[in-house]
Structures are given as structure tokens and as C-alpha cells.
């Protein structure tokens, strides 16, 4: 999936149909109104290939008169497929397929230079080296301008600047590269002097013509190229454990100074870094403050500049779900051992708690103040407080991997599957009320 802006936005995504053909769908948001109500499907490109296609990514050029879609795919041989499409008469035109032997390349990502309109380069990189290439509107020519192997370890990410320069981050180095003159402008060994607090680099994004935003598994760092890279300021999201930035993208226009950051925990944040810049300027004035006062100001700044815009979601499959009758809550239990409660009216995550064991089923009390989850060895009744989820009892109720738990309509009783029996318990006293067993069946109760 990708988004391109030829003045107004287009959305591209790739999917596989029932015949294992590759379909590239292009949707326009131009005529949808008001405010992108219904996207219009413009073109559907179908690409027939042998089975077991693996798509690495989809990338587009933003140059107005060369609407090119590029899809690196993996079949028996690695291929780069270029399509050109015309937004005026809506007819696609196949450009060229370029194939490479498998043993030579392992594409990671392709990035077009979308910011600098006069240069129609794109960068294609693997874990060891990168190529930057140019193409014409009708057919690829001058392909592979340069093929450069880095000496600084595995390439993690690369990003274009507005003026056609390239920032490349490897395991140990941040490299600033001039593509046109084919010279390495500057490099800085960044990982060698990294501490555990600083974390390991996971992605970069370039801003303006000299600033690089580096995401690590601990924080965001802002680097600026002057004569050489200088780390100007960095975030300090210590309230968010495992804050592993997966991808970074720029939002809005330059003046907004904000980025969308996605973490591997499926959190999507809007981060305003203008506050970090102003903080950095004001830092000199804070010399008279004590360390505690500075720490308080940092915490306040981080809190104000970090805004979650999508409710956090489990990283593994959902195993159990229930809906509350009296409150607008959905409760889900996931294979990643988390229990999450969403408010479906406010569309936000209400509460979440991580358990030591996998959750097999969940039931929400009609009042919305209690819930029951089923673990490997026992059922656990829970209190759902305003700001926390707590166990009601220390030991819970013995029951192995119960796949179905349900409350009665009034909430005073609950039942669960226990092998080939159904047990009914009193929720107020947590005592067995009745145990039902089917006379002619020895198989497990499913529902």
C-alpha cells in the first residue's frame, strides 16, 4: 500500500486474487466530496505471474507527467516490474520488467524520490548495498546509476532529502550521500557509542533539507546535518516500555512539524517535534533549574507532544471477544496474552492488561464492572475499575483451557465448558451451583 500526491492524493495497494494474479488497485480521492467521502477506483492493473509471488513493497513516482508504479516481486527470479498509468484517459501501459537472479539480490525496499521533482531517481536497497536508479517516462533507461556496497554493516533504512540527497542508516553508521555527484558527504558512527537507554535504530525519516529523524526501540532522535551530523535533540518516552518505532511518515505540510510514528506494538502516534525544537532553544535558559525541575519539564513536554491517534491493538490473533450490555465496551483477549477493553463510541482503548498466560475465552459482566477470563489452568474473575483491571481472587477457579465462558442475563450466574461438562457457578459467592453432563455424549462441549 502506498499514497502518492500528484497535487491531490491517490491510494495504491496490491492484492492477490483467487487465481494468484497480482492486482494493483489505484484509487483517487480527487472527486470524492465532501472531504474524501467515497474514493473512486481509477485503474486495476492485473499482472499474471507464476504462483507463489512474494511482493516486497509498492512504490510510486510523484512526478506529475510520469505516473509510474513499481512493484518488486519475488518469483523464481527476482523482478522489478514498472507500470505507467495515465490519470487522464485511465489506460494503463506496461513499461518494463527487470529481472535479477535470486542469489544476487534480496530487495528490502524501494523508495522514489518524491520530494525533489527535477530528479526522477529511486533508491533500491538490500541488506548489504543500495542502488539508485533513474527512469524515463516510457521506458527505463539509465537504470542503475550506481551500485554501492556499504562498508558499515547491514542497511536498515534510507530516505531522500528535498534536494535529492540521501540519508542511509546502517547498523553502525548514518551516511549522508550526494546522489548526483556520487560522493559520500558525511558519515557518523552512531551505534558504536549507543547505550542501552538510547536503543537500537529501527528506521529513519528525512525532514526539510538537512534534518533526519531516527527511530529507535527506545525513543526518537533528531539529527541535523551542518558540517557534520549533530544530534540536536531527542525524545524521552520512558513511560512507554518497548517503544519500538517501526515506521515513520511525515504528516501535513512542513510548518506543522509533526510525524506519524508506528511502533511494533501497533501503537500509532502523532508526534509534534516543534516543541522539542523550542525546548532545545530554551534549554540554555534552564541552567539555573535543578535536575528534578528539568526532569519534570521534560516529562510534561513528552506528554504534550505525544498523541495516540489509533487505539493500540494486539500483535497476535484475537482468541476471545465479548460485548458489554450496559456500557459501550468491547473486551478482547489475544494470543499475545493481553486483555483489552475498547470503547466503541469514543473509538479508543479504555483499558489493557498483560497476563502471564494465554487467554482462551472471555466474558463481560452485564454491568460492565467485572469480567471473567479463561487461562491454561483456571478461570480468573476480574474487577474492571475506572483505570485498572485487577484480579478478584488470588487463585481463581480450576478449569483447563475453557473455550467458552458466559454470564447469565442478570449476571448473578456464569457457566463455562469443563471438558464434557458444563459448570454453572454463582458469581456473587464464587461457588458451584450446578454441573451439567450430557448422558449420551463423552465428547467435549463446544458451545
Amino acid at each position: 500500500m502506498t499514497v502518492a500526491n500528484y497535487g491531490k492524493p491517490y491510494i495504491f495497494f496490491v492484492e492477490e486474487d483467487i487465481d494468484s494474479n497480482l492486482r494493483i488497485n489505484i484509487y483517487s480521492l480527487i472527486n470524492s466530496s465532501p472531504l474524501y467521502n467515497c474514493p473512486n477506483k481509477l485503474v486495476e492493473l492485473t499482472f499474471m505471474e507464476e504462483p507463489k509471488i512474494e511482493v516486497y513493497c509498492i512504490a510510486t513516482s510523484n512526478k506529475e507527467h510520469s505516473n509510474v508504479v513499481c512493484v518488486p516481486i519475488k518469483t523464481d527470479s527476482h523482478s522489478l516490474v514498472f507500470w505507467r498509468w495515465d490519470s487522464d484517459n485511465l489506460k494503463e501501459q506496461f513499461i518494463q520488467t527487470i529481472r535479477y537472479p535470486v542469489e544476487e539480490f534480496e530487495f528490502l525496499r524501494i523508495k522514489f524520490n518524491i520530494e525533489y521533482r527535477n530528479l526522477d531517481y529511486f533508491v533500491l536497497y538490500t541488506d548489504e548495498f543500495f542502488m539508485y536508479c533513474s527512469y524515463d517516462t516510457l521506458f527505463v533507461k539509465h537504470f542503475m546509476v550506481a551500485d554501492i556496497k556499504t562498508k558499515y554493516g547491514k542497511i536498515l533504512d534510507a530516505s531522500w532529502f528535498f534536494d535529492g540527497k540521501l540519508a542511509i542508516v546502517t547498523e553502525t553508521t548514518l551516511i549522508f550521500y550526494n546522489v548526483q555527484e556520487k560522493i559520500e558527504l558525511s558519515k557518523l558512527k552512531i551505534n558504536l557509542m549507543r547505550t542501552e537507554k538510547e536503543g537500537i535504530i529501527t528506521g529513519i525519516h528525512t525532514i526539510y533539507d538537512s534534518m533526519v529523524l531516527v527511530g529507535t526501540n527506545k525513543r526518537l532522535e533528531f539529527w541535523e546535518y551542518k558540517r557534520e551530523y549533530e544530534r540536536t535533540f531527542c525524545t524521552n518516552f520512558e513511560n512507554y516500555p518497548n517503544f519500538d518505532f517501526k515506521s515513520l511518515s511525515f504528516v501535513g505540510n512542513v510548518e506543522d512539524s509533526s510525524v506519524i510514528a508506528t511502533t511494533t506494538n501497533n501503537d500509532v502516534f502523532l508526534i509534534n517535534f516543534e516543541k522539542y525544537k523550542s525546548y532545545n532553544d530554551a534549554k540554555l535558559k534552564m541552567e539555573s533549574l535543578t535536575d528534578d525541575e528539568i526532569q519534570k519539564q521534560i516529562e510534561k513536554r513528552d506528554k504534550n507532544s505525544l498523541k495516540p491517534i489509533l487505539p493500540s491493538f494486539p500483535t497476535k490473533s484475537i482468541e476471545a471477544l465479548d460485548i458489554c450490555i450496559n456500557k459501550p465496551y468491547i473486551i478482547i483477549g489475544s494470543k499475545d496474552q493481553t486483555l483489552r477493553i475498547y470503547n466503541y463510541l469514543e473509538k479508543k482503548l479504555h483499558l489493557s492488561k498483560t497476563f502471564q498466560e494465554e487467554i482462551f475465552s472471555v466474558a463481560f459482566h452485564p454491568s460492565g464492572n467485572y469480567a471473567i477470563i479463561s487461562n491454561e489452568e483456571r478461570l480468573r474473575p476480574l474487577h474492571i475499575f475506572y483505570d485498572a483491571i485487577e484480579n478478584m481472587t488470588q487463585n481463581g477457579i480450576p478449569s483447563k483451557k475453557s473455550k467458552d465462558v458466559k454470564f447469565s442475563h442478570g449476571g448473578h450466574l456464569f457457566s463455562f465448558e469443563a471438558g464434557n461438562r458444563v459448570e454453572i457457578w454463582n458469581f456473587l459467592t464464587l461457588q458451584l451451583y450446578q454441573s451439567l453432563k450430557f448422558a449420551f455424549s463423552t465428547s467435549k462441549v463446544n458451545n
Partner: protein
């Protein structure tokens, strides 16, 4: 004709329309998995849908959906 058939016959069509209101979740196997359109809109994938999401409170966090194609096997590759 059963009671249920009678009930269906009496029910006007517009009463049984179901439309997607909101999708919780995000596809994490795509990278990058979130894009921006402008200051108020982001685009991301969840299940076999592309979602255009207005995350501002002014528009009540509304979502618009682009479903996978009719012949899709449900596998959104990228």
C-alpha cells in the same frame, strides 16, 4: 410460509441494511503501514480493507473503507 418468512416479507429493505461503521486494528505485516494524506487524514490497512481515517475529534474519528476486490482471495499483499 413460516413465521420467519412472514417477518422477512413485512420488513422493509432499508431496515436490514448493515454497513461497516468502524474497524479496530491495523495490519502490521505491511511496511510502512501508515501513510498521511493531509493534516487530518491517515491511510492504513486493516484486515482486507484500506481505511481512510480522520483522526480529529471534529470529524468524530470517522473512517472510510476501500474493500478488497470482488475476486480477491483476501490476501492484501502491500
Amino acid at each position: 410460509m413460516s413465521n420467519f418468512d412472514n417477518l422477512l416479507a413485512e420488513t422493509p429493505d432499508h431496515d436490514i441494511n448493515i454497513k461497516t461503521e468502524y474497524i479496530f486494528g491495523i495490519r502490521e505485516d505491511l511496511s510502512p503501514n501508515v501513510y498521511t494524506i493531509d493534516q487530518d487524514y491517515i491511510v492504513y490497512a486493516a484486515a482486507n480493507y484500506i481505511i481512510i481515517y480522520n483522526y480529529t475529534l471534529k470529524h468524530k474519528k470517522t473512517q472510510q473503507f476501500i474493500p478488497g476486490a470482488i475476486h480477491s482471495n483476501g490476501n492484501l499483499l502491500n
